[in-house]
């Protein structure tokens, strides 16, 4: 049997996330956001979290609800400021949350490096900008690069469309976004899915995240929250 566990509720799925943990949270805006796991994390009660995600919450749901509940000490993201990021904006302006802005591609690649055992890498993004401040640089073949370090999570919360009994995952459309890379970059990877199928019924050629990366899978009602938001 696979070592991937299949807890029966999202609350069981997030068990053991301690105060002060670094948590990678999948999603780009609302697409691919693991709403059920975030709601469970709020109920679970861990505090003083460092959240790594592309955005810093939209509207009142998901990540925004976690921030409103005062559970995050710091957000590492590429794009906090949006038309509906009022929860984060208020906390930030009140000095109640720390922000580390990372270019989107670096955010993804730094997690990829963490998951791939890379100690650091040279990247041309942000050379000559304020986000290069304090970074080591090096000229390689006439081009300047910045030294970027991995971002590793203690936990990752991601959403996929379907898992099999070995924890192999497939995603839907652009909801894939950060899921596959976050799945490689955290000590414990927790996925919420709409469906769990027997081993052998998923096309092995179509598997995006192999089950080796996935520690816990919980099935939740399909897209209920997104449908709600979309209306």
């Amino acid at each position: 049997m696979s070592r991937t566990q299949f807890p029966s509720t999202p609350l069981e799925a997030v068990a053991g996330i301690p105060d002060g943990a670094t948590v990678l949270v999948g999603g780009f805006g609302l697409a691919g956001m693991p709403f059920a796991l975030i709601d469970a994390l709020i109920e679970h009660g861990a505090r003083d979290l460092t959240i790594v995600s592309n955005n810093a919450g939209n509207g009142e749901v998901g990540l925004a609800a976690l921030l409103r509940a005062g559970r995050a000490r710091k957000v590492i993201c590429s794009f906090p400021r949006q038309s509906d990021s009022f929860v984060f904006d208020e906390l930030y302006r009140a000095g109640k949350i720390e922000l580390d802005v990372v270019p989107q591609g670096n955010l993804a690649e730094r997690m990829r490096a963490a998951g791939a055992g890379i100690g650091a890498f040279y990247c041309p993004t942000a050379v000559g900008t304020p986000l290069a401040d304090g970074k080591e640089s090096r000229v390689i073949d006439g081009r300047t690069y910045l030294l970027e370090y991995p971002i590793r999570g203690d936990f990752a919360l991601i959403a996929a469309s379907c898992a099999d009994e070995l924890g192999n995952l497939v995603y839907r459309r652009t909801a894939r976004n950060f899921g596959p890379v976050m799945a490689t970059a955290a000590g414990t990877v927790i996925a919420q899915v709409s469906d769990i199928v027997p081993a052998g019924s998923m096309d092995p050629e179509a598997v995006v995240t192999p089950g080796i990366y996935v520690d816990r899978v919980v099935r939740v009602a399909s897209h209920s929250r997104l449908d709600e938001v979309a209306r």
């Binding site: 592309n54 590429s78 989107q104 900008t129 986000l131 469309s161 976004n177």
Partner: protein, 231 residues
């Protein structure tokens, strides 16, 4: 009408367009779209650049990349086509075209950074005459910095095209000898499309006026207050 006939007709409309000015952003989007080579792969930034898609002719076979993880992005989705799992980088629901492909975020930015995208079109606060780009942060104390994929696109796409109004609402030029806003990328812009003129930028050579819309190069030079004569 024959293809040649249609093209001649389009050329005629284009010439008429260039006799007037300044252009609306929609007219400018048409000018940008016309310059995109057949079969090119590219990325359209959030805001005005998104409008370029509306003017790309299907037979030109331009393939649009959206950094949240898709090639072959189609027009905005309406009605039953709205799918919360399928959005563009601005988080608006979009459609997929035949031949579309999905990929994760690390792959999406590797594709960009690796020089595989032929072009991107970005908005800007300012562009310097050496091609420096400022489009992510006003630098104001109460502005929450949000970079998203702008810095990755600036260094990644093979041709970085900017589409913007040439002057701010208060009349200040946005094509400037030196950017005063925080930079997104250094010497990365190759062409600037504005409502008054199109400029080609080459390192150290100063901007070359490619096309004007209802203004002479001499008048342009005066209004831009550049320390040399525009070519």
């Amino acid at each position: 009408m024959s293809t040649a006939g249609r093209r001649a007709d389009a050329d005629e409309r284009y010439r008429n367009l260039t006799g007037q000015g300044p252009l609306t952003m929609d007219e400018l989007a048409r000018v940008v779209a016309r310059d995109i080579p057949r079969g090119a792969y590219g990325n359209l930034g959030i805001g005005h650049p998104t409008r370029v898609a509306e003017h790309l002719r299907p037979e030109a076979g331009v393939v649009l990349h959206t950094e949240n993880g898709m090639l072959g992005m189609g027009p905005l989705a309406v009605g039953d086509d709205v799918d919360p799992d399928l959005t563009n980088a601005g988080k608006l629901p979009v459609t997929e075209l035949p031949g579309a492909a999905y990929f994760d975020h690390a792959s999406s930015f590797a594709m960009m950074r690796g020089g595989h995208l032929d072009f991107c079109v970005l908005g800007a606060y300012q562009v310097s005459t050496d091609g420096d780009l400022a489009n992510w942060h006003t630098g104001a104390g109460d502005d929450i910095p949000a970079v998203g994929g702008a810095m990755d696109l600036a260094i990644g796409a093979r041709n970085v095209l900017v589409m913007m109004t040439l002057f701010t609402r208060s009349g200040a030029p946005k094509l400037v000898p030196r950017c005063t806003y925080p930079l997104t990328g250094v010497a990365c812009v190759s062409r600037v499309y504005t409502d008054y003129a199109v400029f080609d930028i080459s390192p150290g050579g100063g901007p070359r006026v490619r096309q004007t819309f209802g203004i002479t190069p001499a008048e342009l030079g005066q209004r831009l207050a550049l320390p040399y004569t525009l070519r």
